[in-house]
């Protein structure tokens, strides 16, 4: 219950003190007298701001509400809740920050705005917004809840009832659940390869085991091979030594055998040659040889003569050819000289014909002499042509002399040449005669030699030389045969001796080879086995290395896979946790949602019940019944009321009925949410009401029971309300001028 309000320099109030009583209270005054300022003062004092007022007083602009001309203002309220007294003092300053103080039973509780607000909100169980929506129906805002669109009405009622906060929590939980779902989905996508990886791991492990056992097997094989190899390596030197000896003896044997074979062949050949050789009697052969040599000597003699004759014949031929060629040359030269002579004679004739003439000189001279005569004797002018002709004549004369001199030289040369050639021709003819004689002589010599040569050649049969040669060769061969037969015989003996030696040698070699107990086959097999062993060791070693590397790879892959699988397991665990969390959150959400639904049901049931109760007590008529909050199609709230069989919207109620409806709703909500500050304040409820509605309102206020509320405060300028309602307290507000008439301020009469 509000007990006392002090307003100093607050809006139009200079110094107003109001003590409120219990029951129905009227604040009456003309427009602009400062009635609403009183209520705003109450709200401001309680919460430090009045957002729901049309003035919108907040922390930033509150100093603007200090009365004009004043530097500071003070708003103070005293109220009681459940028998406990509280006092709030708020001081506003134009030039410095405001100060507030909360007192409980005269003890200072706090001077901090925020703390005071927290205390008040806790004590009254309401905040300024709730107060503005439920307790205080601001001017022109009485029917605010009735006129609200369904969604907004739902939001406001939910907010008033605290259900909206639950919805906020539900929305937040839903968002978290969705995020968890997304995460689970994402992780599940990541985990798609889990089974494949597990199978891969099993495969790798099995492969690894197989590889290890194979390595073990190979190691044992390797050791066995190594032992064999070491044993063979120890034998190797002896074997190789033996084998080298063997090779030596074998080569020796082969060489010996080859030698023996060759000797055998040679012996055979020699034997054959010896057996094939047909020997003549050496004495006969000697005679033949001597006879042949004589014949050869004779043959050589003839041959030498023929050769000399041949040479002579050749010399003669050459000489004849040379003389013949000289004669031919001389003939050609003679012919040429004759031609030259003819040419010279023709040239001479030409020269004779082309002897230079002096006629032009004579003409020029005559002309010059004529012109001179004319010039001297007739006309002086003719001297000039006389000079010209004179010069011309001189020139022509000089030219004539030159030409004549050249012609004379040429003629002399031609004559000389002609004489020289004629002499040459004569000489050549003489030479030719000599040569012709010589040629004749040579011809005769040639014929004589040819005759001699023919004579000799007739004495030597054809191919006689070859026959002699053949016979000499035959004799030589027969002689050579005898000689070589002797050599062959000797050689055969030598060879047989040598063969015997080699055969003995070969026997000795065979014995040695037998004693060595080794041969190529054995050695090759041994070497082959040795090499195979080496290769097997190498192969086994490389296989072991390969498998070791492979096993390392396996190990690495297994480690990587195990890590991956471990990660995946962790992820799976996380997913499980997330799923559990999601389930829990969904459960919580459902529980909260159920709680919200249940709360909403309970609250709305209560409000509907309360509205009905208040409506029944306030509404005098019989037309409307059962005001209630219903759900509309859009899931918003709709304010309904029943008329006869029908349920209609509260919009269609008259102003007075709306006021009652709004009052019922406010009281129902108030009854539901708090029993602490049981105050209802209505600012200008008669605004826009017709007369009958105002009468209804008057009736209803008169009928209003004070069971549910402590103070029912109406602010109005309407005199009918003032005069027709049984008020427990009337506060009259008006404007008064100061004594000097300069300042206009609100004053209150209680």
């Amino acid at each position: 219950m509000i007990q006392k309000l002090i307003l100093q320099n607050w809006m139009s109030h200079r110094d107003t003190q109001i003590s409120f009583r219990h029951g129905k209270i009227l604040i009456h005054g003309k427009n602009g007298s400062g009635k609403t300022s009183i209520v705003e003062g109450i709200v401001f004092a309680l919460f430090g701001e009045v957002k729901t007022s049309y003035r919108g007083i907040n922390k930033q602009n509150r100093r603007n509400f200090i009365r004009d001309g004043e530097k500071s203002a003070k708003v103070e309220i005293e109220f009681s809740v459940d028998g406990k007294n509280f006092r709030i003092v708020r001081n506003l300053y134009r030039d410095k920050p405001s100060r507030s103080a909360l007192y409980y039973n005269s003890n200072l509780i706090s001077e901090n705005d925020d703390e005071i607000l927290k205390h008040i909100t806790r004590v009254l169980n309401i905040d300024e917004r709730l107060f503005g929506n439920v307790f205080y129906g601001a001017q022109d805002n009485i029917y605010q809840l009735i006129n609200m669109p369904p969604k907004e009405l739902k939001l406001n009622i939910d907010r008033v009832l605290g259900i909206e906060e639950i919805q906020d929590r539900i929305d937040k939980i839903t968002k978290i659940i969705n995020r968890i779902k997304d995460q689970i989905k994402q992780t599940e996508i990541d985990l798609d390869g889990y089974r494949t990886k597990q199978k891969e791991l099993e495969r790798l492990k099995s492969g690894y085991q197989t590889t290890l056992s194979r390595i073990e097997e190979l190691n044992s094989q390797f050791r066995s091979l190594q032992n064999d190899y070491e044993s063979m390596t120890k034998q190797k030197e002896t074997i190789e030594q033996k084998y080298n000896t063997y090779i030596q003896y074998r080569d020796k044997k082969i060489a010996t055998e080859t030698k023996i074979d060759r000797l055998n062949q040679d012996i055979k050949k020699l034997q054959q040659i010896i057996s094939n050789t047909q020997l003549e009697d050496p004495e006969v052969l000697e005679e033949k040889r001597l006879q042949l040599e004589k014949e050869i000597e004779q043959f050589r003699l003839y041959t030498d003569q023929s050769m000399k004759l041949n040479d002579l014949q050749n010399q003669l031929n050459q000489k004849y050819d040379s003389v013949f060629r000289n004669r031919e040359d001389l003939y050609r030269t003679l012919q040429e000289r004759n031609l030259e002579l003819d040419t010279l004679r023709k040239e001479l004739e030409q020269l004779n014909r082309s002897k230079p003439s002096n006629l032009t000189f004579i003409i020029a001279l005559i002309l010059a002499m004529g012109a001179l005569g004319i010039g001297i004797f007739v006309i002086n002018l003719a001297l000039l042509p006389a000079i010209v002709f004179g010069i011309a004549a001189l020139y022509l004369h000089i030219k004539y002399n030159e030409q004549k001199s050249r012609w004379s030289n040429e003629l002399e040369r031609v004559n000389n040449d002609t004489k020289r050639i004629e002499a040459e021709i004569s000489s050549i003819r003489n030479e030719l005669n000599v040569l012709e004689q010589e040629l004749e002589k040579l011809k005769n010599d040639k014929n004589s030699v040819s005759e001699q040569l023919k004579d000799i050649m007739s004495k030597i049969p054809s191919d006689y030389g070859k026959e002699l040669e053949r016979r000499r060769d035959q004799i030589s061969r027969a002689l050579g045969n005898i000689e070589s037969y002797k050599k062959d015989q000797k050689r055969l003996l030598e060879l047989r001796q040598e063969l015997e030696n080699f055969v003995k040698n070969l026997e000795s070699i065979d014995q040695t080879l037998k004693s060595l107990e080794i041969n190529d086959k054995i050695y090759r097999e041994w070497s082959k086995r040795y090499v195979e062993l080496q290769e097997a060791i190498k192969r086994t070693k490389s296989e072991i290395n390969l498998l070791t590397n492979q096993s390392k790879e396996f190990q690495k892959s297994i480690e990587i896979l195990e890590r991956d699988i471990e990660d995946m397991k962790r992820k799976i665990e996380r997913v499980e946790i997330l799923r559990a969390l999601q389930k829990e959150l969904e459960e919580i959400k459902n529980r909260i949602s159920d709680l919200q639904t249940k709360n909403r049901q309970v609250y709305i049931q209560n409000i509907n019940l309360g509205m009905g109760l208040f409506w029944n007590s306030l509404y005098a008529g019989v037309v409307y019944n059962d005001p209630k909050i219903a759900v509309d199609k859009s899931d918003g709230y709709e304010l309904k009321i029943s008329i006869g069989d029908n349920e209609v919207s509260a919009d269609r109620l008259s102003g007075g009925e709306k006021t009652i409806y709004a009052l019922s709703l406010r009281l129902a909500i108030l009854n539901l949410i708090t029993r602490r500050l049981r105050v209802i304040i209505l600012d200008e409820p008669t605004h826009n009401l017709d007369d009958s509605s105002i009468d209804n309102l008057v009736d209803n206020i008169n009928r209003l029971s004070l069971d549910h509320i402590d103070q029912f405060i109406i602010i109005t300028h309407d005199d009918r309300l003032k005069n027709n309602v049984m008020w427990n307290q009337v506060i009259q507000v008006f404007r008064e001028k100061s004594k000097d008439g300069s300042v206009n301020y609100s004053k209150v009469l209680l």
Partner: protein
Amino acid sequence: MIFEIKSSIEIFKQAYDLIILLGFVILIVTGILILTFQDYIYISVTGIFLRISKITEINLLEFIFALFSFLIVIALYTLSLIILTVATKEYRADRIYPSVFIKNITSSFPEVYKIFIIWFLIQFNLSVLWYVNAWDPMILSIIFFLISYIFLFIPYAIVIEEVDFDRAIRKLYIFRKELAIYPIMYSAIGLIINLILIFIFGLVFPLDIVRIIMLIINIFIIVPFLVILGANLYFNKFSLSIRKI
């Protein structure tokens, strides 16, 4: 419906001390009545009924006494109904106001009592009419069922909504339109429970004993539970949306 039954069981449990107390009072008064007027009334398996045929034999003093006794029983029943309904209302509304609680009981009592008196008178007159004209009693039973069906929730309207009889009648029509199924369910549940119990006890005990057992069970369990259930069902009227059964 399940919610209402659960809620009714919860309230029943919480208010059981009170139910026992009221039940005993009713039982005692009913016992006195039965013993005093055993020739004029009979106990059926579902309740106590007047023997109309014997009414003419009753003298004035007896009549006044009987009437007074009936008024007391009805008053006790009315009080029980109001108390349980208010308890349900406060339980469902989740608010307890001692002053309002008492005021609600005292203000509702005359209206509800009036209804039960009227209902008794209607029943009585119709029974006499049927007896005199020797009409088919089955028809009378159907009429009784229809009347009780129509007026079933009127006492709850009076108590919960704190209205007078006239307003309650007006509200009833709207209520029935919205929740017509509930009275049927309510009646059906009462009938089924009774029949099951009669059948069970009928197998074990003779009919006279079954009648007495059923009377006791009805006074202490079935009727209080149905009263609470009725109040709960009626309370759905204030729900934000109509609850599905």
